[in-house]
Symmetry: C2
Subunit: 240 residues, 2 copies
């Protein structure tokens, strides 16, 4: 059997990483949700950056647009925000490469990209991702991007949801308290995950006054069928 592990925040990664593994990067509100949406809506590729400065060097570069946020808000001078909406029904982004930086999600990709095969997870592509993972037959680490290097509810709940489904296949086993913790929290909130997050997370509840509809969208399951994968510096849709 292969192993499954969950890192509830990026700083835990060095202590939990698995050999010969796939890392699923998770940043539900909103980076990894938006990556899935962008690549499902005609964006050619996404070049993730930890630093805003480096991202900005792609401004006006042929074939590129730049997207980014810090602390949940669009960066000044950037073409696009971190919102899934910015990439839906938007002809401007079709066929473009997007240089992208975010507070948490792109940092997590930078941390792991040299260690493992990196793919992108969100509720939107959960089913497609699960089917893809089943085909790969590898150790899998679910990496929650968290909030500024601490643990957050939304990423933990998605990790718990995906871990539960993976373990039910009997293809993966775990021996980690973190996996149990994520599955326990998911199980408590599963009836209405968004309400649960609002109840538990003061930070998200407050932000929902501005972008509650976006949060609702980020919790929709199975509406996308793509699996974004990191290859040679770019996220692209996996194709056989």
């Amino acid at each position: 059997m292969k192993k499954i592990e969950i890192c509830l925040a990026p700083v835990l990664y060095p202590h939990q990483k698995l050999d010969d593994s796939i890392v699923v990067v998770i940043d539900i509100f909103r980076a990894t949700t938006t990556f899935c949406v962008a690549l499902a809506n005609g964006v050619e590729s996404i070049k993730p950056f930890a630093s805003a400065e480096e991202t900005f060097t792609y401004k006006n570069k042929e074939g590129y647009m730049i997207a980014g946020e810090r602390n949940g808000y669009k960066l000044e001078g950037f073409d696009l925000s971190n919102s899934p909406k910015a990439f839906m029904n938007n002809d401007e982004v079709k066929g473009k490469k997007i240089a992208f930086t975010t507070t948490n999600g792109t940092q997590a990709i930078s941390l792991v990209k040299d260690d493992a095969t990196v793919v992108i997870g969100s509720f939107l592509n959960e089913g497609a991702l699960l089917r893809w993972l089943v085909e790969q037959d590898k150790n899998v680490l679910l990496l929650c991007s968290g909030w500024k290097n601490t643990i957050n509810y939304e990423d933990t709940l998605f990790a718990g949801s995906l871990a539960e489904k993976m373990i039910k296949t009997d293809l993966w086993e775990h021996s980690s308290d973190s996996v149990e913790i994520a599955m326990t929290l998911y199980n408590e909130g599963r009836e209405n995950l968004l309400e649960y997050i609002y109840k538990k997370s003061a930070r998200i509840k407050k932000r929902s006054e501005e972008i509650g509809q976006e949060f609702e969208y980020c919790m929709k399951r199975g509406i996308l069928q793509n699996v974004p994968i990191f290859r040679d510096g770019y996220l692209i849709n996996y194709e056989e």
Copy 2:
């Protein structure tokens, strides 16, 4: 109102630390439980070390005994293990200073000792510690030592238990997902915490075959009234 925060593992501490705070170090199985027991049973003071080598230099030193474990097992050549039992009804330890090293707990003390007032928490002294914290009127961070830099159930559950009681006093407030997570898990397991840990943690369940009685003892509430505090390199019982 003062703030309360929980670090579910030491590597999270730099990202969650609070100004002008008290840090409660938690290592339920078994370092901080044993520190409470030792100081309640006549040990004069405990000198915590991160490294086993440094601890060993206190071997046979006048007035000292040395105690330590790695991976849950007593270190070779050390006078005492990490077991609470080793310090109960043991005339040899009375009036002694104990140089002490453990896998997780003493490392956590080393991490925070220069930042904050450090005290020691366990189920055994939970009530006394709560009363002491109420008197201090300070920000409080509960630091779970965890297991080899990852998150564990037993420390998380104690942090959730203590945080719930602290927040009920209306003296502390929090805005952290980590505090909610610890309280949620505590609330799920509260009817029988040890059974709950056995169900959730394969690591602890396995180890209970050898030292299950010790684990039972570590979960007893309120049987000690001391509050170990770190001062000038030593843990001693707090006295006004």
